[in-house]
Amino acid sequence: MEAAAHAASQTDAEPRTYLNHETSLWEWLTTKDHKKIGIMYLISLAVVFLVAGLLAMAVRLELMSPDFSIMSASQYNQTFTMHGIMMVFLFIVPSIPAILGNFVLPLQIGAKDVAFPRLNLASWYVYIAGGALTVTALLVGELSTGWTFYTPYSSQQGTAVIFMTGAIFVSGFASIFTGLNFIVTIHKMRAPGMTWNRLPLFVWGLYATSIVQVLATPVVGITMLLLILEQTLQIGIFDPALGGDPILFQHFFWFYSHPAVYIMILPAFGILSELIATFSRQRIFGYRAIALSSVAIAMLGFLVWGHHMFVSGQSAISSIVFSLITYLIGIPSGIKIFNWIATMYKGSVWLQTPMLYALSFLFLFTIGGLTGIMVGVLGVDVHLHDTYFVVGHFHYVMMGGSVIALLGGMHYWWPKITGRMYNETLGKIAAGLVFVGFNVTFFTQLVLGSQGMPRRYYEYVDRFAELHMISTIGSFILASGLFLVLGYALHSLFYGKKAPQNPWAAATLEWTNVAAIPDPHNFTSTPLVTRGPYDFHKADEVFGGSGDGQARGDGAGSDASRLAPPEAAPSAPKEDASA
């Protein structure tokens, strides 16, 4: 009835959606709609990812062979520095929460919006301000500190460091705003019946992430501020020439930056749980264990920063303790991996593109996690520290974990975001290219590192030439896969098949209770939640079945369709009938 009213209020027959409602540029820039803010983040982050990715390609090209060179050593230092800073602080940290979290979280918990929509918009502007400062840093001088800004080198560099650390200070606030907003939203905005044990696991992942964002980000903020003061006033906190302590900087930096890797990976875990459950048609195995292991990782993540500093000269006792606590992180991570695999066991696995990314994630993240344990071992790390092994490990976790999950999630929610389907065949090809390209690029780096190739080097000895060449070729395969994704994503925006309301036959609210393209207010009526997020056996409305009252079954639901293969047409939204 409401749907009909909405439709009638439109001049044409199309139902009102968030995309055809308030469409001018000004209305986009001042929108408080979490879905539009998510899209604004998506576009900005895609630009950052493209630029930082091209910088990575430049680094790989430079390292292709010992005699081949496309840039000077100083340009090389700046290139890998900007690649690291942009990817870490301006891309991966905000990526999943700001894009998919913003778009999906309120839909999944049955809310009209996040708790503080204005703060949400502010976070995007703060992020853009951080981006502007980054550009300024590039314009005013050379930045060659690496993404870690270790003192004393960084405190003796020029003004570029001031602007760059300022950019990180500012964009940190965007991260804090998002985290704060999500925690309050999850606590206070859940639909009736949406108990904590019925929260989709993506929401649990975002919750754990938000805790880390709120607790860790202020520390990097003040650290960057102190670094700026060190440069401008020479306050002598970090620079040994002034009596300061460079190790203190490392402690402060890693107190944020280690938890920050959990900011990057925890929401990816959340996406994985959604993908694996939906595409295995199976209740997730060990719901509580997955949910609480995210929180456990968030908490343990604050106690391991010292494992980045085994060779810094910190006390041996603290190195041992940090090493032991680092092993502990393996437990909740392992719990997740086993639960995901158990979920697929005897499930009806449907190998669509998002699921391919989920399977890639399991493979890549396991390598990333196990190499993480290896470098967490005190004795091994002394050998592997500052080699390509660490570079390989980091990329297996961040790119192979976080970015792959983001890609899977983008494919999964693409129909809901844009109302269009992407080309499934091209999607599968791209997923294959990314998987192969990624492994060729970074597995060779694990080997290189174990043979002693140090990171951040501009030149290297001949015996590493072959592996560097393979790694560079892999990076081209990886890039071709990613450009293919960009290509068919843009294509689908204009020519893609119109998406149905629930193309994956998923059972969470954003698919079952929200129109193909969501209404500006998300739900036409407040949903009442009566089952868990992965209770497919109770989801009559998804697989046909009678349902009751206002269930959105498509009416074609016979008992046969209940056991139908995943292609079974999911329920059509009522709006379509009136259209």
Partner: protein, 233 residues
């Protein structure tokens, strides 16, 4: 999650929408939900404030632990009398801001405005005293960082002690950032006083006053820790 929509719930939501109070934003179901959300959000923000200062406290602890004598000497040059007066001023301002919440809950507009304005005056007083303290140090060449060059009796001997500059760097950075928070708080309190005067708040809705009060208390609490660490210990 379900797909059922309970007709009853929907109805009740709709009716509330028809005549909801002006302060209620559309995405909240009730005023209580909105108030609880705002308060939880503010508490989370206050946690980030504490963590922001925590790194400074750690820096203080580290350098003090390494150079206890230098810190004792440098600390003794701070004026504990002015520091105590400032502590009392800030504590009183916390009382007045708490009173303003008490009065708005009783719907007493005039007294709310008066308590907010007294908070503003006390906060201003704090900054004035802080200004004189800073000036007294600058006169003797006690600057943060590189410019540190103590002159005059009672200060010259500091130049010979290593790590005294670190104490003053930490002192200026901590009290400076705290001072910035005081200035922001004054802006907020002034704005609240203006809005209260305009009649925006009542016993039904006074969330911004309450949140400003919470913020002001954290500014106060941080000073409660800064004062003994820098002046007394």
């Amino acid at each position: 999650m379900s797909t059922e929509t309970a007709p009853a719930t929907t109805e009740s939501v709709e009716t509330e929408h028809d005549h909801h109070p002006p302060h209620l934003q559309h995405h909240f179901v009730s005023s209580e939900q909105q108030f609880d959300s705002a308060k939880l959000g503010m508490w989370l923000f206050l946690i980030t404030e504490i963590l922001l200062f925590s790194a400074l406290f750690v820096a203080y602890a580290v350098y003090r632990n390494w150079n206890p004598m230098a810190f004792a000497e440098a600390s003794s040059t701070l004026d504990w009398v002015l520091g105590s007066v400032n502590t009392i001023v800030l504590l009183t301002s916390s009382l007045t801001v708490a009173l303003s919440i008490h009065f708005i809950q009783k719907n007493d507009k005039q007294k709310t405005v008066i308590s907010l304005l007294s908070t503003l005056v006390l906060a201003g007083g704090f900054l004035v005293i802080k200004y004189f303290e800073y000036m007294a140090k600058f006169e003797h060449g006690i600057y943060p960082g590189e410019a540190f060059a103590p002159t005059g009796s009672g200060y010259e001997y500091l130049a010979a002690i290593p790590y005294v500059p670190q104490f003053f760097s930490i002192y200026f950075v901590m009290t400076g950032i705290h001072g910035v928070h005081v200035v922001i708080g004054m802006g907020l309190i002034g704005w609240m006083a203006w809005r209260a005067h305009r009649g925006d708040f009542s016993d039904e809705w006074y969330t911004p006053v309450e949140l400003t009060g919470l913020y002001w208390h954290i500014v106060d609490i941080i000073w409660i820790f800064l004062f003994p660490l820098l002046y007394l210990v």
